[in-house]
């Protein structure tokens, strides 16, 4: 694995290897604090979130607005978000160059949700989401190369090139699901297992504002509440279900109240720290045997629903620009870091540049890779060893014999 740590400091290459191997979860970015002159990165910074960060439903408690978080963690959150942004923009370019085919749903603008959530949870916690999953895959340890290769359908893709954009999986991350809403009952089942096994862990089952009207979502709500499962239902409300605005699709757009008998919390999904605090709160709440929680992250996507959608036929460019300039998650985190003396603007720019370099390198690697072996076509349909002797192909003489 090529080390991507290249900075002006001479000892960094060695340090990179040591620091990343010592961390609990493998970082798939270069070590960001090597770019800053901040001393004592393990020191905590005290941040107070704005009053309107959370709105509660049927719950007296609310998350503490005061956060004490280490500079290291803040920088890591910023680096992850900027790398994710670069990765999605690269995928955008690759799709337009027809290197990626099929469907490609980008999470540009929604980075704060995945990064904030990941910072708050542990290895035992599980996450499941729908098809806008590249960012989630990345924070759960998927390397950029493996994600880009999966998008191109190459052999070293994270799903061996067989899943594509919508079906990426990683440890404790159950994808990556194409059918809208189908992942919510799945998440409920995963939460059931955690409770059954007595694990102090929660499952975050994400879905969008469009999916919130699926019948199976309400079926999942009922089961989770009935059996007090440690399941956090996260509605990633980016205001549009493909081309339909939330107001035109939903009788109630207060998605955090849709759990009815399940308490809810509405979070500013453009602030990684707000999401971080809310996820910590949610995990604690559900794992303590209180049952499920519904969380609505109010976020926004700059791009269209997918690469086939320009994203401007159902909303104005002014709206996109307005959100981009006033609520961008990266800019928000940047301001925070500068304000609290964690890094200077120049240092953050250096991190951006490094991220860009890394993603470009990953793109080159991904392009150089090859298509999967033909044998992958008929593997993993059934568990190995239990397949029928033959599967039939297009014509009688064309079959594959497993044994």
């Amino acid at each position: 694995m090529i080390s991507f740590c290249t900075t002006t400091k001479t000892t960094t290459n060695l340090l990179c290897g040591i620091i990343s191997s010592a961390s609990k979860r493998a970082f798939s970015t270069s070590v960001p604090w090597q770019f800053t002159s901040t001393q004592n990165i393990k020191d905590n910074v005290h941040i107070t979130l704005p009053e309107d960060s959370f709105r509660m439903f049927k719950l007296d408690q609310s998350p503490d607005l005061n956060i004490d978080i280490s500079k290291e963690q803040l920088l890591d959150m910023y680096t992850k978000m900027t790398t994710m942004r670069r990765m999605e923009m690269t995928a955008d370019g690759m799709y337009k160059a027809k290197k990626i085919r099929g469907f490609c749903h980008l999470c540009t603008g929604q980075e704060a949700v995945s990064v904030g959530m990941y910072a708050a949870i542990e290895e035992d916690d599980n996450v499941i989401t729908a098809y806008r999953c590249h960012g989630f895959t990345y924070v759960h340890g998927g390397t950029i190369t493996s994600i880009l290769e999966e998008l191109m359908g190459k052999r070293n893709g994270i799903s061996k090139g067989k899943g594509g954009s919508m079906h990426m999986f990683a440890k404790s991350f159950f994808g990556g699901n194409g059918i809208v809403g189908a992942q919510v009952p799945l998440g409920t089942g995963i939460a059931f297992t955690q409770k059954y096994l007595g694990l102090p862990a929660a499952t975050f089952a994400l879905y969008g504002d469009g999916a919130s009207n699926q019948g199976q979502v309400f079926e999942a709500f009922n089961m989770a509440a009935l059996w007090k499962l440690p399941c956090v239902f996260v509605c990633e409300n980016n205001k549009y279900g493909m081309g339909t605005s939330d107001k035109r699709s939903s009788a109630s757009t207060e998605y955090y109240t849709r759990g009815d008998y399940i308490p809810g919390i509405q979070v500013d999904g453009m602030s990684a720290l707000a999401v971080y605090r809310a996820c910590q709160f949610a995990k604690e709440y559900t794992v303590s045997g209180n049952g499920p929680l519904v969380m609505e992250c109010r976020t926004y996507r700059y791009g269209g629903h997918s690469m086939s959608d320009p994203g401007t036929t159902y909303r104005t460019r002014e709206e996109i620009q307005q959100v981009r300039s006033s609520a961008d998650p990266l800019m928000g985190m940047k301001e925070l870091l500068i304000q609290h003396d964690v890094a200077t603007e120049a240092e953050l720019k250096a991190i951006d540049k490094e991220a860009r370099k890394m993603v470009d390198q990953a793109e080159k690697e991904a392009e150089a890779s090859s298509d999967p072996d033909m044998s992958e076509f008929w593997t993993d349909i059934y568990v190995e060893g239990s397949e029928p002797n033959v599967i039939r192909g297009r014509i009688p003489s064309e079959s594959h014999h497993y044994r």
Binding site: R101, G102, F103, G153, G161, K162, G163, G164, M166, H167, G178, I179, V180, G181, G210, A211, N213, Q214, G215, Q216, G241, M242, G243, T244, R248, S249, S250, T313, Y314, D371, P372, M374, E376, F377, W378, I381, I391, R392, G393, R394, I395, P396, S397, E398
Partner: protein, 392 residues
């Protein structure tokens, strides 16, 4: 936006030497002199006289022989427009249909007929189907759209357990004859698992439903109008690959084509070839290749059009004449429509068969993304089956 224009690309591909590939080549390069694909098909009626020469359309040329150039989504649009205009109780609904739909099939309908007759539903297939069944039960003509056939499964229970059994279980007190469910189906080249499926076999197994799949714009308009007006619940699968690719001179009049009747597209004497939907063009090319490689061979091509109830008599008559049958469809082989047709023909034509019935279908795997070209029952595979059947 492609950098190279379509015209330039075609000329480049002809100049490029033929590469050796392990699977059937794409449609760009002419193989053995066969121009593959919908664009070169002779099955499409590109001239007005051509279109009206059809015996099934003979009655309209006297009344109004005007035709206009339409592709498949425009033909579907025209059919729905006529349905809405002639039936006050007709409504069209589904996800995103108001602005025109993801395939433009419902363009202009909301503007023309009003938002109370052409409206969007939330993202709920089960809800859409149930809602449509309810409307149809009271006598409305409900034309529901499921955005992709791959998403029809949440609605499976509603269609199989409610729609299909409505008339039977109420002793004909109630029925959902006014129900038509439209869904784009089949492969599109890059659809992967959930934008390429052909689920007709799942529904074919359910008595009470009718399933129709057109191959061209003229067929689509006539069959859709017939489906809407047929007093049974009908599922209308539109091959999405053909929405733009298939262009014909479509009669502007209000016309229907018969359900339950297959169409013999090419008469022959040596082997019967049966298919439906987009597969017809692949079969056309396979026949061209077969007749070129085996001079003297004469193939008969039949388009089922209605998958359930399929026209048994036409196929039986043909197989009794030729003694050989090849069936092709994109859906996986096991328990696909091919299995049903093969069994029935075996029962009816056993002594007349000269060779085992050949089925050219998709592999028994999930519909792949990167391996699509290998999965599809391509021209070469269909030709292979014809050859096997003829040389048996």
């Amino acid at each position: 936006m492609s950098i190279i224009s379509k015209v330039a690309r075609r000329s480049i591909s002809i100049r490029v030497s033929q590469q050796k590939r392990g699977y059937a080549a794409g449609t760009a390069q002419p193989q053995d002199g066969i121009q593959q694909g919908v664009a070169y098909s002779h099955l499409l009626k590109r001239g007005p006289e051509d279109a009206l020469r059809n015996p099934e359309l003979a009655h309209i040329s006297a009344v109004n022989g005007e035709t206009t150039k339409m592709n498949l989504f425009q033909a579907v649009n025209d059919a729905m427009s006529i349905a809405l205009a002639t039936d006050d109780n007709a409504v069209v609904f589904g996800e995103d249909v108001s602005f025109g739909g993801v395939f433009r099939a419902t363009t202009g309908l909301a503007e023309k007929f009003g938002k109370d007759r052409v409206f969007n539903t939330p993202l709920t297939e089960q809800g859409i189907a149930g809602f449509a069944i309810g409307m149809a039960a009271v006598g409305h003509t409900a034309i529901a759209e499921i955005q992709f056939a791959d998403y029809i499964f949440p609605a499976f229970d509603q269609l199989v357990n409610e729609a299909a059994k409505y008339r039977y279980r109420s002793g004909n007190q109630f029925n959902v004859g006014g129900l038509t469910v439209r869904a784009p189906c089949s492969a599109v080249g890059h659809g992967g698992h959930y934008h390429s499926q052909s689920p007709e076999a799942f529904f074919a197994h359910c008595p009470g439903l009718k399933i129709v799949s057109p191959r061209s714009p003229i067929q689509a308009k006539g069959l859709l109008l017939a489906s809407i007006r047929d007093r049974n619940p009908v599922i209308f699968f539109e091959p999405k690959n053909l929405y733009r690719a298939a262009v014909e001179e479509v009669p502007v009049a209000d016309y229907e084509l018969p359900l339950g009747k297959a169409e013999v597209l090419k008469k022959g004497s040596d082997v019967t070839i049966v298919g439906y939907g987009a597969q017809m063009y692949t079969l056309e090319n396979a026949i061209q290749l077969a007749e070129k490689k085996m001079p003297g061979l004469s193939c008969e091509l039949i388009d089922l059009r209605t998958i359930v109830p399929w026209d048994v008599d036409t196929v039986v008559e043909s197989v009794n004449k030729t003694g050989r049958l090849v069936i092709a469809h994109e859906a996986p082989k096991s328990s696909g429509m091919g299995a049903e047709i093969a069994s029935t023909i075996m029962e009816r034509c056993f002594l007349r068969l000269e060779a085992p019935i050949q089925r050219v279908c998709g592999w028994d795997t999930p519909f792949p993304l990167i391996f699509e070209k290998f999965y599809m029952p391509s021209m070469i595979r269909c030709f292979d089956a014809i050859k096997t059947s003829v040389n048996y």
